[in-house]
């Protein structure tokens, strides 16, 4: 398992190599990329803030939940902080499993869960304004 909050560029290949095991036939990977538009606004860049120590701990918790729920072999996640341009990768989640169905399901569920509970925040900056985007105020514990 590998969980990282980092200001450096993310590296999907490293996460694929990390999760791959000799018994895993499938790796599913999600890469979240900064796009040029949101809610009809032309985005200039995003800025990410995080509570790194807690984020890495919560990532481990949700990964362990997923390992208990699906027959998967490993999980790795990275989230980037700081200013990200259009096209840069903010989040990578990789899951390995013997079979692809479980790899896809667990990877998708982990991305959903990440966005609910991992303490990372994004600010959208557009021409003439900016706003901290806030997710649903869910309480999960």
């Amino acid at each position: 398992m590998l969980f990282e909050i980092t200001s450096a560029a993310l590296d999907p290949q490293r996460l694929i190599d990390h999760v791959r095991k000799d018994e895993s036939g499938a790796v599913a990977l999600f890469s979240g990329v900064v796009r040029n538009e949101n809610l009809g606004r032309r985005v200039l860049y995003l800025e990410y803030d995080a509570y790194p120590e807690m984020a890495e701990r919560v990532m481990r918790e949700i990964a362990e939940e997923a390992m208990g729920r699906w027959p998967i072999t490993d999980v790795a996640m990275q989230h980037r902080t700081g200013r990200l341009k259009i096209g840069e990768t903010s989040l990578v989640v990789a899951v390995s499993a013997p079979h692809r169905k479980e790899a896809f399901e667990a990877c998708h569920a982990l991305v959903d869960r990440f966005k609910e509970v991992v303490p990372v925040w994004k600010k959208e900056v557009w021409e003439g304004g900016e706003e901290w985007i806030e997710g649903e105020a869910v309480r999960h514990e």
């Binding site: 796009r35 966005k115 901290w132 869910v138």
Partner: protein, 85 residues
């Protein structure tokens, strides 16, 4: 007896700081630590409904007691990743 408070994202911009110290006196809960901060940084007021708390890096209820040396974090609704939906 003091606790360290960490602020992130919109909350840190509203308060103008990412860290603060709060005097616990006879003892405070996580929610009361937030109320104490509102007295000092008035822009933080009125956000109680959307804030979650963490004590020493783990999510905690507003009623969770805070001990001297604890780290309390005010957690606005998280929004990691890139795509909205």
């Amino acid at each position: 007896m003091k606790a360290k408070v960490r602020l992130f994202a919109r909350l840190s911009e509203l308060a103008g700081t990412r860290e603060a110290e709060v005097e616990l006196g006879e003892g405070l809960t996580a929610g009361e630590v937030y109320q104490a901060l509102c007295g000092r940084y008035t822009a933080l007021s009125g956000l109680k409904g959307s804030i979650r708390y963490a004590v020493n890096g783990e999510y905690a209820e507003p009623g969770h007691p805070v001990a001297g040396g604890d780290e309390v974090a005010l957690i606005p609704p998280v929004s990691g990743g890139a795509d909205a939906v």
